[in-house]
Amino acid sequence: MTALGANWRKGRALFVHAFASMTEYRAEIVIWMISGSLPLVMMAMWIGLAADGPVGGYGAADFAAYFLVVFLVRQLTVVWVIWELDREIRLGELSPKLLRPIDPLWGHVADNLAEKAVRLPLVLVPVVAGLWWAGARLPLTFESLAGFGLLVMGAWVIKFFQQYATGLLTFWTDQAVGLERVWFSVSMVLSGALAPLDLFPEAVRGVLPYTPFPYLVDVPVQALLGRLGGAELLQAFAVQGAWGLAFVVGSRWMWRHGIRRYGAVGA
């Protein structure tokens, strides 16, 4: 068995196992999905504001399209690994995973991807129906679709490894979850989940592209709406990739140092 073949088999086994677990949680996934519907509430609000004429260039249909795609992007990049790490480290549930000759990271990745596989069909239905109902038309060129796909993956990488790194702080403190809540609030605003970043003050818009936040929501959304040119897409890939890499490297570093402090509590 080649190393590549063995790794493929491991990945597949983890995914199959995670998928089987996730199908046991179908009902919960629907509830989580509904709990992520804040963008739809924002959509209703902005459509109301745009009733008497466009706001900052966005008409009612534009807001509908923007927030429906925001909803889609957020659903595709939902991450909860911090709760898993917090529990595993505090309660010693990490122990059985540490005994296996595979980094526990891969189990979490498999869980997240399997959950996406269960969630995706559930999410697409309301999004497509909503877009059709609002009369929003997406360009759906190769460029917009490919750009969107890659940017969503990049957004997932940033969110996943940012949460992974924050979760690993549990090796040092039990306040990691609190820190995550702060990050979450900031990123809700600065990622464009509550309002398109176009509508933000000029000063903020100047700084945002250097932060990871726009690449989590606004940039992928704009890509699918066909509002980004080739050069803008490339630039977005570069900055997003750099942030993704930073979080990957950071979380690996924290794992190496934190694991020494693991208490392995329990029985």
């Binding site: 063995a6 597949r12 983890l14 196992h17 122990s95 540490l98 296996r100």
Partner: protein, 356 residues
Amino acid sequence: MRWRPRASLGDVIRVDGLRKVYRVHEKEAGLRGSIRAFVDRRYRDVVAVDDVTFGVAPGEVVGFLGPNGAGKTTTLKVLSGLLHPSGGTVRVAGFEPRRREGAFLRGITLVMGQKQQLSWDLAAVDSFLVNQAVYEIPDAVYRERLGELTEMLSLDGLLRKQVRKLSLGERMKCELAAALLHRPDVLFLDEPTIGLDVTMQQQVRRFVADYNARHGATVVLTSHYMADVTALARRILVIDHGRLVFDGDLSALVEARAPEKRLRLSLSERVDRADLAALGRVHAAEGLEIELGVPRADVARVAAAALARLPVVDVAIEDVPVEDIVADLFAQGRAARAADAVRAAHEAGAAAGGRG
């Protein structure tokens, strides 16, 4: 007390001066305690394992005994790489466990008597298949091993049931199977029979003995059920308050700690207590059932004397139960520590008195 030589070169497990200190965060109870802990965190060091040295030869089965909190589980967690030692060196099959290298992890297993690696929402086989891939076990080998484990542990009908619907004992057997699919050479078993009924305990014991015999695996096990230890391990390590207080053959422990044998007599009528005391130490005398403690060397003579002088209906000569010996060992440790504490308090008091 007879000590084995320190770790020798051929040993698969070598532990030298192992020390593990936990840093625990002290918090007083109640809201005030919480608030105080928030502004001023206090830590205390708990020495769980202190300067422990031993070696285990390949294929050996070693029983780890000690009262609650002695440091047994901590030692096993260090040996399996879950905990980084605070001091000393540890080698298992030539590896430093804390590095958790793939080749090391593929050669060991740790079973603890609680919720472990099986996913509760799925059937045990679903988790087995993950292990098959993770440990890179070829299909044919996997099928053969699963067959063997199914037979040895009577797993028929359990593997396809949702794990959360299994009974404690059934789950424990599935956990054991999951932990051994990769056929490790070194087994760390932490109270593998806890909570199981007598039949299931025997089955697990027999399984461990079989596994050891078939595959020549090295086994280190802890248990509070003395039967686990006496049935499986010829050699025992006794740990108390983090320190190794005995390392040697079980029989040597019995001889060293129990120079007596028990002479059990059933009498047909009551006799004078003085007549009994003349024969040996009266351990118990309930009605007509008498238990005497007699030095090993004198057993035959005393038994003969008893038969000659007393109205004996039945006689039996037994070893002191291992439980009693070990309990005695722990009690001695406690007494010694208590004496130390009293002496220390005394000295502190004297010093304070001298100053005042």
